[in-house]
Symmetry: C2
Subunit: 303 residues, 2 copies
DNA sequence: CAGATGATATACATAAATGTATGACTGAGT
DNA sequence: ACTCAGTCATACATTTATGTATATCATCTG
């Protein structure tokens, strides 16, 4: 009853065990040893008064309680990481690490040239880019700055509207030589289409706007956007693509120009970070680079 | 350069030093000793590569860097507290601690009777009530459930609309015997008014709706709502009050019934907590109790 | 079915963090 | 001017946590 608060390090160990699935693996991950990890878990279980794992000899199975606690531990981990990033940047100089979250397409195809220029201007700036379509939470400091395709709702977020990235249908010249040019939406039925594996909110919106797509079957599906782009460039089929991106690839031909979908874009940052020089310059660089990209500016050239 | 991540306990120590203002006080707070606290701070400063405090013999003065890191450390503290609350409640039974955030008026005058009934129904439930007009952040788990007077914006929050609590002018019978009954808004000029010390968003809204109040001077000001209520009950002057609250005090008389301000009310909870029995029953109890209160139900009687 | 691999648990030695005791300094009050 | 209560810093003893080595068990593989 008179027990004091457990060491916060136990939470780090707890999360590592959850993520790695065994005491030994967690020990390797944290640079500690297996007995230490075991003792941490024992101590944490005693402190919270609940079983966290059912021990077995091929690993540890988390209990329901452990799964309930997992998001809290994840918050702790992302917060400590954010704290260290914030600490690493001194007050006046642009140093330290900035973590950016963006979609796969933006992160892999658009940002590299923008960030290269930024890095050239600030050699002490370390850039961490998370290119994933899973949304990272700025409020929980999983990232410092994010490029978002939905309007940010929370008022604690400082956001800058970039504008609309237009999407259009494209195919490689080689593909068109073989299969011919589709002349109408209905004509797409006989073509090879490249698309997503799962339903996203954006795809549902598109289907609502162009109901014709409901009946179209896809010849190539992948959740991985880059795989789709490479399939497009390899001449596998027809796919949606950012129109500014297609300008960089001379062998890609725009199809059905009457179809154009908007991808509204924002750059978002937590308001508390606006006084941080490293975040400020990165935010500004992203805004200006993306504005150029949307306008189809020439500086988005690939290396 | 090959330094590993600092112990998470250092962040707890860091926050305690920030809050307490000295190594010695932080040591007392955490149940450690002053040399240990000093070593923790030294280690943390070495790990982040920045000075966190300027040492002096009457205490420690936080540097700018330390102030930047403070909110992160606060998030860590509230998250660990929330984790422990979550851990203390078992999966099926209503046990453990639930932390509720509400305004001073609601928390001190309205909730006690509701929570007493809840506690009677669930003896193993421990209720923690933060009655403060400072908003606690549900997203950062500073509280599990909140009673709010503004509509919740974030989509990760599960909210239930209660309705409008009407506010009206009241005075104690004794006061009216001495100063007479005001017959109009203009008549208030010659009366003793009780009100807030600072400008809140709600007060600005009220001034906009009844511009006449701009010219009125207050005879008694306090940021502390309870102090205002007690001043009202002591016959010091005229004040706004929840109309359902006034029903419980027979000596309070409603004035200027044509003036009635709305206080829109929600009960809000983080969506992740809806599967937690202790939060679920507390949420339901708050909703039902507050609905009764708004309707002026009879079960809101004070003990 | 034997052997390799990878898991947890335990015993013991070692390293690390903590506590105790003390000194030096500051500022407030007498 | 002096005490007193407060602070931080340092030296040393002790407790605590960690690492090493080993035993035991399960699973997969040839």
């Amino acid at each position: 009853m008179t027990e004091s608060e457990p060491s916060w390090d136990f939470y780090r160990t707890f999360l590592a065990v959850l993520q790695q699935g065994s005491l030994s693996a967690a020990a390797r991950d944290l640079g500690l040893t297996q007995p230490t990890i075991g003792r941490h878990i024992d101590a944490l279980e005693a402190a919270v008064g609940a079983e966290l794992f059912t021990r077995s000899q091929q690993g540890l199975l988390p209990t329901d309680t452990a799964l309930v606690l997992k998001p809290y531990a994840e918050t702790l981990a992302s917060t400590t990481a954010a704290l260290l990033r914030a600490a690493s940047s001194s007050r006046d100089k642009v140093t330290g690490t900035v973590r950016i979250s963006a979609s796969e397409v933006i992160g892999t195809e658009v940002l590299p040239s923008i960030l290269a220029e930024l890095q050239a201007g600030y050699p002490d700036l370390v850039i961490e880019l998370s290119a994933s379509d899973a949304v990272e939470d700025l409020l929980q400091r999983e990232a410092d700055i994010a490029v978002r395709m939905v309007e940010p709702a929370h008022e604690a977020l400082l956001s800058r509207h970039i504008g609309i990235i237009p999407l259009g249908f494209f195919a490689h010249r080689k593909y068109l030589e073989r299969y011919g040019m589709p002349e109408s939406i209905e004509d797409l039925q006989r073509h090879k289409l490249i698309g997503f594996d799962r339903q996203t909110a954006y795809i549902r919106m598109m289907r609502k706007r162009y109901p014709i797509f409901d009946g179209i079957t896809l010849a190539f599906r992948s959740d991985h956007t880059i795989a789709q782009h490479n399939a497009l460039r390899a001449g596998l089929g027809i796919s949606f693509l950012h129109i500014p991106l297609a300008r960089r690839a001379p062998d890609l031909v725009r199809l059905l120009p009457e179809i154009e979908l908007p991808l509204d874009t924002w750059v978002v940052m937590h308001e508390n970070l606006k006084t941080s020089p490293r975040c400020r310059v990165t935010f500004d660089a992203l805004v200006s680079g993306l504005l150029d990209y949307v306008k189809g500016g020439t500086d988005g050239r690939r290396s």
